[in-house]
Symmetry: C2
Subunit: 122 residues, 2 copies
DNA sequence: GACTTATATCAAGCGACGCTTATATTAATG
DNA sequence: CATTAATATAAGCGTCGCTTGATATAAGTC
């Protein structure tokens, strides 16, 4: 299942946002998200499973609790996918800043951008 | 329909990637994507419709042709959604660089990040 | 104006996904 | 050891999105 399919679901997006605050037991996620979306415990648990199997989150057992935490990699992939599109709104010049900011490997030999659509119709 | 739902489909993602090269007639998209995914003209046309109605692309008529081009806004929204997660992989320090790079409006009063999971259970 | 080209729309089928209820599993607790 | 708490799994069902085949629209061409 592709990363974007995972993020297609609002419940899953919300779960990821929640985990931004740090590790959290499944029960807390269930209460929070369950209340917000009006869905049951199994429903949330299944979303957690999807997030687990797609590598978006990690689990750690603590007694009967399951502590979930964010896993950066898949989201980073999404971020990378966005890369070719950034030039459509990034102010230019900052190309370098972006490189630095996002810790780029190599990419881009600075071909003149040519943003889309150039009216020349008669 | 949420931006991530739009991007959930691989055909639509490919179309957007194609349009990265600039404005392109529907027919070209049909041939390119159609061949790559083995789908018909109506299929592609409907994906274009979805992209149109969700604001990911813009159309311009030129005779019987329809010239499609990228629209940055929705992708930018996705980029913005990723923001709270960036600290999970961005090397820190670059916070400033990122701001510059991504042309941030205001956001973030620089609260100490505190990346996830902090064990303190009794 | 008939014909072709380019593209959109419609109707229908199918499959996948998410939700629910019920139940299983495993750990803590008395 | 029986019971409760926390979480996961199973089975069934409805819905929704994707694709196809057929058709509509509209602009160029002869």
């Amino acid at each position: 299942m592709h990363a974007f399919d995972i993020l297609g679901d609002p419940v899953r997006r919300r779960i990821l946002e929640l985990l931004t605050a740090g590790e959290m037991p499944a029960g807390d996620v269930v209460r929070s998200v369950g209340a917000e979306f009006g869905i049951t415990q199994p429903a949330v648990s299944q979303h957690l499973k999807v997030l687990r199997e797609s590598g978006f989150v990690r689990v750690r057992a603590a007694g009967t609790r399951r502590l979930y935490s964010l896993e950066a990699a898949p989201l980073r992939d999404v971020d990378d996918w966005l890369d070719p599109f950034r030039r459509f709104w990034a102010p230019r010049l900052d190309a370098l800043a972006t490189e630095i900011a996002r810790g780029k490997k190599t990419r881009r030999e600075d071909t003149t951008p040519t943003p889309h659509h150039d009216e020349e119709h008669p």
